[in-house]
């Protein structure tokens, strides 16, 4: 007989992935759906890749609470799930004497939030970041901030969830809720499942982790009609690490709208520059624009004047899922808080909304809160005897020294076959991802997992080779292989076959 799920999670960004992973600990039958062809394709896939300290979040907001708690969870998680994370600290840099008072304001806020920070002198800032604008007047240093690889963290958490029994369905788009038929109550009071483009799925709980689309999901349940997500687009530049290397995370003093255009080093050694903040209408519009690129460049050069446009190797844009949820506990009016709730009006829904920065940092804390909310709602949440909190990363050729590389190649010659010439990604790594617990079946999926195609040539060398490997390993025709799912195939026909 058809067994309904205990929990259905909508959305496979970092918040959905952490929620799936945290819930996989308990004896629950869990379905996790994602409308795209891979996980980590939305907001989580394109952002500043920072784990924020939490000094600047609005005091007493849910954002501040989740940021600080989430930040503290990253070390243990990166160890358990074997993903990269470096707590290198972050700096807010004042340029010129006029900007110095802003550091004191931020420092006061960080004290309210219980986040240790210190103001450092200009000279010390110049020592830490030799390329900094010489007009630096001081900086606020937050030692608990860090850099991460959002793709790596999300994939690790997702993989661990799947290994612990969570059923992930890609290309599955939420359309509506299914309600318990009732003559006595309002017909829309108890959720019993969801309708998707792939059919109906029944479950006792639905977790709305739909990111940019979380407002539309909750509106389908008749909840929070005033809540609205306005996508705020941020564009970025990636610099060639052979041409410029910055050492730290550098923010300008913040504006009312955003943390500003930052310059940061990344786990891959490439300096990342951006983002701007532009409110747009279309929740899928990740186009980069000429105006946006100029804006970033002007902003970034304020921090690092020697940045040279000729050393840009990649340009991308991401969308922040900015909401308008008011904070009821805050001392001043604040309308950009997270929503993390089991709404009283309906039964069977956990609502997560307004998941913009610092949601990446906060994701583990949000997942932890979801567990607590379910327990509070009477779920017994019995821990599985065979739950495995650990997940092991697969070999990464470029991270090994020569002796280790030689040993790996001796074990499996496919690791000696370089497919991506800039990042030195091997056939062995690609094949391993195609057959991983969450199989990578598109070019972009392999890119997110192996970092191939992210270097100077932007995949110009590896693309035909990756199409071949995907076709071979998946038993498909090269014509079927796509960049990011159906409709994005690379090739249209063989030559000498004029249609």
């Amino acid at each position: 007989m058809y067994q309904p799920y205990d929990v259905i999670i909508i959305g496979a960004g970092i918040v959905g992935a952490m929620t799936a992973r945290f819930l996989s600990r308990y004896a629950l039958k869990i379905l996790w759906i994602e409308k795209e062809s891979d996980i980590c394709t939305g907001t989580t896939g394109a952002n500043s890749a920072l784990v924020h300290g939490g000094y600047d979040a609005m005091p007493k907001s849910l954002k501040a609470e989740m940021n600080v708690r989430g930040n503290a969870m990253w070390d243990a998680l990166s160890e358990e799930l074997d993903f990269a994370f470096a707590r290198i600290g972050t700096h807010v840099v004042a340029i010129g004497e006029d900007e110095l008072p802003a550091l004191d304001e931020l420092k006061a806020r960080s004290d309210l939030n219980g986040v240790p920070t210190e103001i450092i002198a200009a000279e010390e800032m110049r020592r830490r970041e030799p390329l900094i604008n010489p007009e630096v007047s001081g900086a606020l240093f937050c030692p608990s901030g860090g850099i991460c690889d959002p793709w790596g963290a999300t994939i690790a958490a997702a993989e661990n969830a799947v290994q612990n029994g969570v059923e992930l369905r890609l290309n599955t788009e939420f359309q509506d809720f299914l309600w318990e038929p009732s003559k006595i109550q309002s017909p829309k009071s108890k959720i019993v499942g969801i309708r998707t483009n792939q059919g109906d799925f029944y479950g006792r709980w639905v977790v709305n982790a739909a990111g940019l689309f979380a407002d539309e999901v909750m509106h389908k349940a008749g909840l929070r009609p005033a809540f609205e997500i306005t996508p705020r687009r941020g564009e970025y530049y990636v610099m060639d690490r052979n041409q410029i290397q910055t050492q730290t995370v550098l923010f300008p003093v913040p504006t009312k709208v955003s943390k500003g255009i930052l310059v940061t080093t990344t786990l891959h050694g490439n300096t990342l520059v951006g983002p701007n903040a532009e409110e747009i209408d279309d929740k899928t519009d990740v186009a980069v624009t000429a105006a946006g690129m100029r804006e970033i460049w002007d902003g970034a050069r304020k921090l690092i004047p020697s940045l040279d446009a000729r050393h840009v190797i990649a340009v991308f844009a991401g969308l922040r899922a900015g909401g308008n949820a008011p904070c009821l506990d805050c001392d001043e009016a604040y309308h950009k808080d997270f929503i993390i709730e089991i709404p009283a009006q309906v039964q069977g829904l956990v609502n997560l909304g307004g998941m913009e920065s610092p949601a990446l940092t906060a994701a583990p804390a949000i997942a932890e809160r979801v567990v607590a909310l379910l327990r509070g709602a009477g779920e017994p949440l019995v821990e599985k005897a065979d739950w495995n909190p650990r997940r092991e990363a697969r070999p990464v050729f470029r991270h090994l020294d020569h002796a280790e590389q030689a040993a790996l190649v001796a074990r499996d010659p496919r690791y000696g076959h370089i497919i991506c010439r800039c990042e030195y990604v091997t056939e062995g790594e690609i094949v391993a991802e195609i057959h991983a617990p969450i199989p990578a079946t598109t070019y972009d999926a392999i890119k997110r997992r192996t970092w191939l195609g992210t270097g100077r040539c932007l995949g110009g060398f590896d693309m035909p080779r990756v199409v071949d490997i995907l076709a071979h390993e998946l038993g498909q025709d090269p014509l079927e292989i796509s960049k990011k799912g159906a409709g994005s195939e690379f090739l249209v026909r063989k030559t000498k076959e004029v249609a």
Partner: protein
């Protein structure tokens, strides 16, 4: 598989036209053990995907397709006894000339060369380097990638193409795609003149009625999963978009032919200093870099327009690398620096040893900054003194300009403080 040694007189990295020539010349000039390493399955480099003709015009007075040109040198390399390690990617070169490489057949290898010739060629500029706005759908490729797909893999990446940039590969692909039944809507060039060779414009675009629009570019790409169209726009002399000139061109593929960059990541690992103008190493007239025993040949030094000159450079570098390996390279010469003068963007080599002129000529190769569509004079000067001069019918940025210093110039060169090249109206 033939067993190979791990110590060589000369190791050549890359077996395209530059590397093949360097290896052959090294062997012919006394180097006993010469090895070529290449990441592909066959020798020849990018020539193998260049199935169009036009190769060998200068050296052989022939009009060969790329693979035939390559085969000529592959045969010669085999005849003279050059070793080759194929399907092998070099990961690292150290300043003391250790080479680390890996391949699926041979595994991880560590080699050492008395001399090394860097011949990795160049790579294509991407949409990031030209800051092309829009989303990132499938269907935006460099022209060389499309060339590989069509000519080597046998697949078509689209049906309706727009090509941005009038580089040679782009124009050649416009014709190739037309042969394969695709529609090439337009070639757009942001500059007021052609980036590639005029002969390619005539033979690849004009002859096939493919429109070229100068001072036009792509304002944005349209399409989320796959390219659906591009928005083209006219630009003024300062590359500003001209309002009202926008035009949506439906297409499923945008090819980029917007320039090539010498590929010097390995050179940098070996400590080789690069010229920010060419993106290639600073070299002397024997193509020796700043690192002792490390030479560079071909497109890795600067981007050539004709393969014949790449071969010539490879022959010189290989000969000099062999001399170095045998301990008879003058490593402490009294160099004379070269400099880019009026209407010259750069000059290669960056410095030269006057003593070379007692044996060989030295070709100074340069690119002009501005096109001059009338008779010009190419001059090499020391201050106000003209040392060498040459006439040409025109000078275009897309076509390399050269002038050769000869034995008769020895005295003047030896006494010069600096050799300034200029290309001016006659």
């Amino acid at each position: 598989m033939k067993s190979l040694k791990d110590n060589y007189d000369v190791i050549v990295i890359g077996a395209g036209p530059g590397g093949l020539a360097a290896a052959i010349a090294a062997k012919k000039n006394g180097a006993e053990d010469v090895l070529m390493i290449d990441r592909d399955l066959e020798l020849g480099g990018i020539l193998l995907q260049c199935i169009h003709n036009g190769f060998g015009v200068e050296i052989f007075k022939e009009d060969w397709p790329g693979p035939s040109y390559a085969q000529h040198f592959i045969n010669e390399a085999q005849e003279v006894g050059v070793d080759a390690m194929l399907d092998t990617m070099v990961l690292d070169v150290t300043p003391d000339r250790k080479v680390y490489a890996t391949g699926p057949g041979r595994g991880f290898v560590e080699l050492e060369g008395r001399a090394i010739v860097m011949a990795m060629g160049c790579r294509e500029r991407t949409r990031a380097q030209i800051k092309l706005p829009g989303p990132r759908p499938a269907g935006v490729y460099t022209a060389g990638l499309a060339q590989r797909w069509v000519n080597v893999e046998g697949y078509m990446p689209g049906k309706r193409f727009v090509i941005l940039g009038s580089g040679d590969i782009g124009m050649i692909m416009a014709r190739r795609l037309t042969f394969e039944g695709a529609k090439v809507e337009r070639v757009l060039e942001v500059l007021p003149y052609l980036s590639g060779l005029n002969r390619n414009y005539v033979q690849c675009l004009l002859d096939f009625d493919i429109p070229l629009q100068l001072q036009h570019t792509v304002k944005r790409i349209i399409g989320k999963d796959k390219v659906e169209a591009v928005e083209a726009v006219a630009v003024d002399d300062h590359w500003n978009f001209i309002p009202g000139s926008e035009e949506i061109i439906p297409c499923d593929t945008l090819l980029l032919s917007v320039g090539l960059i010498p590929e010097n990541e390995l050179s940098q690992k070996a400590g080789v200093a690069l010229d920010p103008v060419t993106n290639g190493p600073f070299v002397d007239d024997g193509f020796l870099t700043n690192v002792t025993g490390i030479f560079a040949a071909g497109n890795v030094v600067h981007v050539y327009d004709l393969v014949d000159w790449v071969t010539q450079a490879g022959l010189t570098a290989g000969k000099r690398a062999a001399q170095y390996a045998q301990g008879c390279y003058n490593v402490n010469p009294r160099y004379v620096p070269t400099a880019a003068g009026e209407n010259v963007r750069y000059v290669v080599p960056h410095k030269l040893d006057p003593e070379t002129l007692t044996e060989d000529g030295i070709m100074l190769q340069m690119r002009v900054t501005q096109p001059l569509e009338f008779p010009v004079r190419i001059e090499v000067r020391d201050g106000d003194t003209v040392i060498a001069k040459k006439a040409a019918r025109y000078a275009r940025p897309g076509e390399m300009v050269d002038i050769t210093l000869k034995g008769k110039d020895y005295d003047a060169v030896r006494q010069a403080r600096e050799l300034t090249a200029r290309v001016v109206a006659r």
